[in-house]
Amino acid sequence: MTGLGAGSGPGPQAGRWPETGAGPLQEGVGAVPRGAGALKPGAGIAADAGALERYFEETIARDRRIEPRDWMPDAYRKTMIRQIAQHAHSEIIGMQPEGNWVTRAPSLRRKAILLAKVQDEAGHGLYLYSAAETLGADRADLTDRLITGRQKYSSIFNYPTLTFADVGVIGWLVDGAAICNQVPLCRSSYGPYARAMIRICKEESFHQRQGYELLMTMMRGTSAQREMVQDATNRWWWPSLMMFGPPDEQSPNTEQSMRWRIKRHTNDDLRQRFVDMTVPQAEALGVTLPDPELRWNAERDHYDFGEIDWSEFKRVIGGNGPCNAQRIAARRAAHEGGAWVREAAAAHAAKVAARAEAAA
């Protein structure tokens, strides 16, 4: 597919309306809007830039949304593109672990549910790519960055789905953790991202509930099925806790992100919230969370839990998890295998348009 070349990376390029800076009005994203200069004749560009920055800071301080065609600092734009792209990639790669079970789902009901869920993940990825494009990023370029390993996705999807219980545990724990992470992002200062998150969160609730229901059904089954659920829980618990990212003291960007209100809680806060939510769910289900140090701490009013193996986290993030290569290879194969379809559709559209013009 053409248009995938390097050099079209995210940055202060022209974008499109309605969500981006330039397009019909031919203003570069990040350029000084006409209005600002016109209001203050004689004021230099530097003075205007200061005013724009103050306006940006004020908008955020008042908890208002930054919209695509607003002036924003380059660092904010870059950070947002990276955050949204990484989230979009996670949704797209996230189709694979569960997608593996679509053909082997144990009933038509489960297969229909799983198909709908995997479709939702695709949809979430597309909402998010759409939001990233409002910042001047190019969708084809983002895909290229994903399949060449230049942008990351959540490390959780580099683990294999060994049994059908994994489908349930992913819904319960992985989507549960995602909900914890994403609900506060519905109030992200970046408007299009916040709006995408609202749509996504509504749909995630179905994901988590179908997973938990699946597990409840298995727990009512044979002892082999109950063991399957426990085994899947054992394998996914710790990676789920890692989804919240490194501990606060090792998360240098958190402070800036909180100031920009593109992150509303620290990694450790969200992780704690997830643990507190999940323990009673595990009890209701009748599984044991694989952490001997997990216990209620009345003083803190929270559950204490054991040390996370951050070396594993780093290993998986660094490309050496059980399925990293497989996930990227599958995404690349799908993208390259679909190239002829994209080209044929474009050729057909061009032909139809040319005929219509000739007839006019």
Binding site: M1, T2, G3, S8, Q13, A14, G15, R16, W17, P18, E19, T20, A22, G23, P24, L25, E27, P33, R34, G35, A36, A38, L39, Y55, E67, P68, R69, D70, W71, A116, Q119, D120, G123, L126, Y127, S130, A131, E133, T134, D138, R139, A140, D141, A196, E203, A339, R342, E343, A345, A346, A347, H348, A349, A350, V352, A353, A354, A356, E357, A358
Partner: protein
């Protein structure tokens, strides 16, 4: 990339006759009427080779749970927008016309139904 390159993807404008069509599809903005009686509202964007495909993609992407009864798709390049800055003088003409609002007029409380 630029908006021009994307929006001119193998579409019309005469050049489609000779030049090779780009495989990069143009961007469409999607508007949804969620139920009868309401306006179409912008919900997002997607890429498609042409308007018909954009409609199908919009249905698959934005109405998986009966969120809409009608969809509009518009090529992003065909939209003209005002500047978003609230302080933009573009909107200044309405700023000082308080008499356009009903609350501008004082009517005694004893007068009913007004």
């Amino acid at each position: 990339m630029s908006s021009g390159e994307i929006s001119s993807t193998g579409m019309g404008t005469g050049s489609g006759m000779s030049g090779e069509p780009r495989s990069n599809w143009p961007l469409f903005e999607v508007f949804l009427r969620s139920k009868r009686g309401l306006n179409h509202v912008h919900v997002g964007s997607l890429h498609a080779a042409d308007a018909t495909m954009a409609l199908h993609h919009a249905r698959d992407l934005y109405t998986r749970r009966n969120e809409g009864v009608s969809i509009w798709v518009v090529k992003a390049a065909d939209i003209t927008a005002s500047s978003p800055d609230e302080k933009d003088p573009f909107f200044a003409p309405s700023g000082d016309k308080v008499y356009r609002h009903p609350t501008f007029y004082e009517i005694p409380q004893s007068v009913p139904h007004i």
